[in-house]
């Protein structure tokens, strides 16, 4: 494919601007590889953004499960990390602002380890999140924990990036 140089530049810029997150193979055509877009898959523990949400909020949208931040854990561990506490602080504020919400805290594990051990480990993770929130003043009665062990993975990847996604406490609003 031969294009006049200006078109090639435009095409290159367009391709460079495309979000390549899900696109693993880079397109073979454009010769000058744009250096900026070669972002590797993000490192497993993305520090949860505080997400201030400063919109004027014309009608306050009801809080959904997706507004709660997951709490991530290290391998075979159920102690809270710094990023986990930050996420829980955010979730604690949501719960304080919406005292009618009741939540399931689900505990999840990566695929390594036996099903039985991971059920216990997942429960520990959910309990760690619950205990932190209880210490932050959230009523224990508004929270319950359920462990899914390694049975309900969020990511299917069999590498650390996928495993990290699956080692979490997940918040689901109870109907």
């Amino acid at each position: 494919m031969k294009l006049p140089t200006p078109y090639r530049i435009v095409l290159t810029l367009l391709l460079a601007g495309l979000p390549l997150a899900g696109c693993v193979k880079k397109p073979p055509q454009p010769p000058p590889a744009p250096p900026v877009t070669q972002k590797q898959e993000s490192v497993p523990t993305p520090p949860p953004v505080p997400a201030p949400k400063e919109e004027p909020a014309p009608a306050p949208a009801p809080v959904g499960s997706g507004d709660f931040q997951p709490v991530f854990f290290d391998f075979d561990a159920y102690t809270l990390r710094e990023d986990g506490r930050t996420a829980l602080d955010h979730n604690a504020k949501l719960l304080r602002d919406n005292p009618n919400i009741r939540i399931h805290i689900e505990g999840h594990c990566d695929e390594r380890g036996t099903a039985e051990y991971n059920q216990a480990l997942g429960e520990r993770r959910a309990q760690a999140a619950r205990d932190y929130l209880a210490a932050a003043g959230i009523a224990a009665a508004s929270m319950d924990v359920v462990s899914y062990g390694k049975e309900r993975p969020f990511a299917e990847g069999h590498d650390e990036a996928g495993w990290q996604q699956n080692r979490r406490a997940q918040f689901v609003i109870r109907q």
């Binding site: 075979d76 099903a115 039985e116 059920q119 216990a120 429960e123 359920v146 049975e151 309900r152």
Partner: protein, 441 residues
């Protein structure tokens, strides 16, 4: 070097009826089965069908089932031939017989002789309804194994497992060779950790059915409705029966933290056996009834521990292997199987019940949830060694494990049933005729 001292006189283990079954019974049939992992070279002739067409079509399938049963027993190296074929020169025994089908009944006359002498070792007739032809062949195979090893084979046992359908996991049961596979649950939920009662009629399992967390249920092996055993707050998982069937060991977290409890057989009267801040789970009751193996991370990482049945005297099983889990007692109680973590997943080891003599059974990929066959000669386990998770059997002799046929289902969490009632009583029946329960007389 041939170890003649290790040679076994087949006649020593031979019951009286064998001599009766054959008029010119030899005084002694000697087959050398010495040497670790040594298999008897046995030749299977076709089960020559009688004239009718129904028997002809059945005989070919019966040949396949019989040869596979013998091969899978791990006692034999099997060769096969069509009717009239010549056994390989080094075969030590030959199996044959006749299969007839008449009036909805199947009759198998099974014969085993030694080679080259052609002296009869076993001659027996099996009968049953034509729907039970597989069971009839399995009985013959198990009797052959009994004759040569002193312990009946396990070809009539079943394997329960968890089969994945999308995100859902249902409980399945099937014959060891994959026949008769059926789902016991259709909950569109998560079933886990099946475990047979010691007569094989019941199965304990964990399920998320009905919403909420994991609860313990019991279901008949034949299917039907599951009954709730324990639905206490928190975890209700990882259950097994005591050898006498009067108690259930399981993991509960109703006191805030996963601990091992014993319950009565209906799920009542919980008695706490562990008391530790750490994770305790995966109890396995020793065949003696006196001890329980379990997994705990009280030492910093998951390890298999043993304790007395009342919870006392907890001690780590083995220091030979790091990060161990999923203990399973051999039927005789002399060894345990367990998994040890690797960078790729888990390897399976066995060791003595005092923790010594750790032996690697399988490695490569992740190999999980080992469970012993009722004769202790095999382990079934779940593995992703072939890509997706499936069930495999190791004969504990270093050979490559074989994959069980789960009908394409992604399968985990196997449990091996005990032998069905009656199969172990072959020695008690001194007649030459066997009928299958359920078959018409």
């Amino acid at each position: 070097m041939r170890r003649w001292l290790g040679a076994i006189l087949v006649t020593l283990a031979m019951p009286a009826w064998v001599a009766r079954a054959s008029a010119q019974a030899p005084t002694e049939v000697r087959i050398d089965i010495s040497g670790a992992g040594q298999r008897i070279r046995i030749h299977c002739e076709a089960l020559a069908p009688a004239a009718d067409a129904a028997a002809r079509s059945l005989a070919g399938q019966a040949d396949d089932v019989l040869a596979r049963d013998l091969e899978w027993s791990a006692a034999f190296l099997v060769t096969r031939s069509a009717t009239g074929g010549v056994a390989p020169g080094d075969a030590q025994a030959v199996v044959g017989g006749t299969l007839t089908v008449a009036g909805g009944q199947v009759r198998l006359r099974g014969e085993v002789s030694d080679l080259p002498g052609h002296r009869p070792i076993l001659s027996r007739e099996y009968r049953g309804g034509s729907a039970e032809w597989r069971d009839i062949v399995h009985r013959f195979a198990d009797d052959i194994v009994l004759q040569f090893t002193g312990e009946a084979g396990v070809s009539r046992t079943k394997v329960a497992f968890v089969g994945a359908t999308g995100r859902d996991k249902e409980l399945y049961v099937m014959d060891l060779d994959g026949a008769g596979r059926r789902a016991l649950t259709a909950d569109r939920s998560i079933a886990l950790s099946p475990s047979f009662s010691h007569d094989g009629s019941l199965m304990l399992f964990t399920s998320y059915r009905g919403g909420g967390g994991p609860r313990l249920f019991v279901i008949r092996q034949s299917g039907g409705r599951p009954y709730l055993v324990s639905g206490r707050p928190g975890l209700n998982t990882s259950a097994c029966y005591s050898p006498d069937g009067r108690e259930i060991a399981c993991t509960l977290s109703m006191d805030g933290n996963s601990e091992i409890y014993s319950l009565d057989a209906r799920g009542g009267s919980p008695r706490r056996l562990t008391n530790h801040r750490a994770i305790d789970t995966s109890p396995a009751w020793a065949p003696t009834g006196r001890e329980i193996a379990f997994t705990s991370d009280r030492g910093g990482s998951p390890q298999v521990y043993l304790m007395d049945r009342d919870g006392g005297n907890a001690h780590r099983l083995t220091y030979d292997v790091d990060y161990t889990d999923s203990p399973a007692w051999s039927p005789k109680g002399d060894r345990l199987a367990l998994v040890a973590r690797t960078s790729a997943g888990f390897d399976i080891y066995t060791c003595r019940s005092d923790g010594s003599d750790a032996r690697l059974v399988v490695s490569g990929g992740s190999n999980e949830n080992p469970r012993w066959s009722p004769d202790g000669r095999h382990l079934v386990f779940a593995s992703n060694r072939g890509g997706s998770f499936g069930l495999y059997v190791s004969d504990l002799d270093g050979r490559e494990p074989r994959r069980l046929d789960t009908g394409g289902l992604v399968a985990t969490s196997p449990a091996w049933s005990p032998r069905p009632e009656g199969s172990a009583s072959a020695l008690d029946e001194l007649g030459t005729s066997h009928s299958v329960p359920g078959g018409r007389p």
